[in-house]
Amino acid sequence: MAGNAASIRINGTAVEPPDDPRVSLLDLLRERLELHGTKKGCDQGACGACTVLVDGERIVSCLALAVQYTGRDVVTIEGLAGEHGLHPLQQAFIEHDGFQCGYCTPGQICSAVGMAAELERGVPSYATGDLSTRKIAPSHDELRERMSGNLCRCGAHNGIVAAITETYAKEDR
């Protein structure tokens, strides 16, 4: 376990941060580690294709300077599947046609995993009526609002919401 504070843990492996502080976390993943699952869409924080999880929280890796993430635990789409196959949300995306071209998909899935943790923690959204409650039902409106940082040009949003609902909200429906 190379948990040293000067390295970045990426999908369980310790990685040295880049010498050049201009390198984004996204470019570190794609250009230096050849983890091409995380996608570069707009490179300015508007599309969400580059979403990854840092210590379980979703961020856009294009606006993250890699040097800021030493000592942190990064999980990309490549790190989501377990020994026994796909992450349940990945499987649900396949079953519900949660994509067409697939370019936004890794970001959508990482984002939804982070979103589920936020819901579990009781984080409100702009769509939440009662801010005092920590038990927020993952309604269609809640999910659409919470996933608004991930664009899909193919228009697979209905399938995406269906896949998320099946994975995280089924028992609440």
Binding site: L65, V123, G149
Partner: protein, 328 residues
């Protein structure tokens, strides 16, 4: 990006020492600064990472709240005191950015984020006095649907993009600063400058001065608060007009009102003219509309943004009406 050095500050004193260097800039979550570095609109020689400084959210004995400037936007919005006692602040933060952006962005960085005026961003194609002082402003006679109707100048018509700051303005927040000369406190409403002849100078911060903490006074008793944002799409867009309001009504009269506007001015716009018109008077739709008319009386619309004047009036009237109605 042009090359820069990077250092992580261990504490506020360390940050101010490092931040005192020529052409140094403080780095929070990077959600605005990294973009501006990439566009070479920001060209610092050194970045001082202040995300390791205080992010604590603590209740004060006087009933107020201290928020460390490194607190992430999500952490503030979900905090139990904020969501129950300052709901207007939770709602304003949740109206801004996306969840990913809110997880990264700090409170200090949100306050100091720069305008999203497209002419400011387009360094190759257009003139901008904020980017290149004295160059001229192509927004003033350009596509200015999203630009300012209040507080602008002949040099600059850009708006401040923050939602959070609009709520902080309505809540009478103070901003604690630390610089080489020591510490001081500035009301949030006085932190940002109007552009005048120098739109490149956006705040009253001295070079190297750092935002360390935001302080909220105790929530005004017997009031309710609301944030409403009007934008081009339902989520993840900047405000055309937004309204943060705190309202207290007793026996049909306004006992307390604090009102701030976003999306219409170069800074979070505290609507004191409207407040003065309302305080002590009847809490009626007619009074709310008259106060909104008074606040917008000095509005100067540009070619494309005249709609904001009426939109702001209607949004103010609707928000105050909702708060008053819920109290009756």
């Amino acid at each position: 990006m042009i090359p820069f050095t990077y250092a992580r500050a261990g504490d506020a004193a360390d940050a101010v020492r490092l931040g005192g260097a020529t052409d140094a800039k403080y780095l929070g979550g990077g959600t605005n600064l990294v973009d501006l570095l990439r566009e070479t609109i920001e060209r610092p020689a050194a970045l001082v990472d202040v995300t390791g400084l205080s992010s604590a959210i603590e209740e004060r004995e006087n009933g107020g709240l201290l928020i460390g400037a490194a607190a992430r936007n999500t952490a503030v919005a979900e905090h139990r005191f904020v969501r129950t006692r300052y709901p207007v602040l939770s709602r304003a933060i949740l109206a801004g950015g996306s969840a990913q952006i809110r997880n990264m962005a700090t409170v200090g960085g949100n306050i100091l984020q720069r305008t999203r005026c497209p002419y400011f961003y387009d360094a190759d194609g257009f003139r901008c006095n904020k980017r290149n002082p004295g160059q001229g402003c192509d927004a003033r006679d350009g596509f200015n649907r999203t630009h300012a109707i209040l507080g602008a100048s002949s040099a600059c018509v850009a708006v401040h993009p923050s939602d959070m700051c609009v709520a902080l303005a309505a809540l009478d927040a103070d901003v604690h600063l630390r610089g080489a000369a020591g510490t001081r406190t500035v009301p949030l409403t006085e932190l940002h400058r109007l552009p005048g002849d120098h739109p490149e100078i956006e705040t009253v911060l001295e070079p190297g001065e750092l935002i360390t903490t935001v302080e909220l006074p105790a929530p005004p008793p017997k009031t309710r608060s609301l944030y409403r944002k009007v934008r081009d799409r339902a989520s993840y867009a900047f405000a055309l007009v937004s309204v943060a309001a705190v309202l207290g009504v007793e026996d049909g009269r306004v006992t307390d009102v604090r009102l701030a506007l976003g999306g219409v001015a170069p800074k979070p716009w505290r609507a004191r003219t409207a407040e003065n018109a309302l305080t002590g008077g009847p809490a009626t739709t007619q009074a709310f509309r008259a106060a909104a008319e008074a606040e917008l009386a000095d509005a100067i619309p540009l070619r494309d943004n005249g709609f904001k004047v009426e939109l702001a009036k209607r949004t103010i009237t609707a928000v105050l009406g909702e708060l008053a109605g819920g109290q009756a």
